[in-house]
């Protein structure tokens, strides 16, 4: 499954933030507490994780607008 492998190609820290926020639907505050990092770091990590994911998917020809 290409999307799963794209996700698995992310760094563990990036993947973890996506998993917690998207799949487990935790709040930013909950993820920050869980990972013992500032909320701002959760936000920026989420953003850069999505950017990285998009880049991987684009290389696979999956996404694009």
């Amino acid at each position: 499954m290409l999307i799963a492998s794209a996700l698995n190609s992310l760094s563990a820290g990036h993947r973890r933030v996506i998993v917690e926020l998207y799949y487990y639907r935790r709040t930013v505050a909950e993820v920050a507490a869980l990972l013992a990092i500032p909320e701002g770091t959760v936000r920026s990590r989420c953003f850069y994780a999505l950017r990285a994911l998009r880049r991987v998917l684009e290389e696979q020809g999956i996404t694009g607008t």
Binding site: R16, V42, R51
Partner: protein, 209 residues
């Protein structure tokens, strides 16, 4: 990337922003082409993520089951970086979906449910990966978690988009689905306990006023 708010779009695109944060971001989007462009690139991702069972992902700690829909707590957080935009929100600013530069045959669907008094307009735009959805809803119950559920003509279901409305008035939600617009049979807005409104595809409604 020069706008300091751009990094907040990741949480927003995943549907993980709380209600007040979402309003601030939407207010900001109205005035920031850079963030609008960035968001357009992020919007497909939730629909793609929805296709992946979390069990396929390389795990860190074993996932814990999420105890049901998240209660009210998340709606009360502050977002310092967006505080400056609050004045604009207080002034009543609201960002309605901007048409994409050259929308490739967008399908616009509308529906209303007299029982719940929820009205929605959905704009479905075909892309190379599926369908980009812009949902504009009015009359949502306040402070109840809502979901957009997309069903395909082949029987598939995707839950895409999650929010809770905290004030009356139109709410604009970005969402996406992995199917082509022609393969989408219906779109439903629902809380965990009840359906609010369902839009059947294939019967395009008149353009919204």
């Amino acid at each position: 990337m020069t706008c300091p708010m751009t990094v907040d779009l990741g949480v927003y695109a995943l549907g993980a922003a709380d209600a007040s944060e979402r309003v601030l971001i939407e207010s900001h989007l109205a005035t920031c082409p850079e963030c609008r462009a960035e968001l357009a690139l992020l919007e497909p991702l939730p629909g793609l993520l929805a296709r992946v069972p979390v069990s396929l992902l390389a795990g860190d700690p074993p996932p814990r089951a999420r105890p049901g829909p998240n209660p009210r707590g998340r709606a009360r957080r502050r977002l310092a970086v967006l505080g400056a935009a609050a004045a604009a929100v207080a002034a009543g600013g609201f960002w309605l979906a901007q048409p994409t530069p050259s929308p490739p045959a967008a399908i616009i669907l509308s529906a209303a449910n007299p029982a719940t008094r929820v009205r929605v307009t959905m704009t479905l735009t075909g892309t190379s990966w599926g369908t980009s959805i812009r949902l504009i809803a009015r009359g949502l119950p306040l402070n109840e978690p809502c979901r957009l559920i997309v069903r395909s003509r082949t029987g598939g279901t995707e839950v895409t988009g999650a929010w809770d409305a905290w004030r009356a008035g139109p709410v604009s939600i970005p969402a996406s689905a992995a199917w082509r617009p022609a393969d989408i049979a219906s779109l439903q807005v629902a809380t965990p306990s009840r359906s609010l409104v369902t839009v059947m595809a294939g019967r395009p409604a008149p353009r919204p006023t």
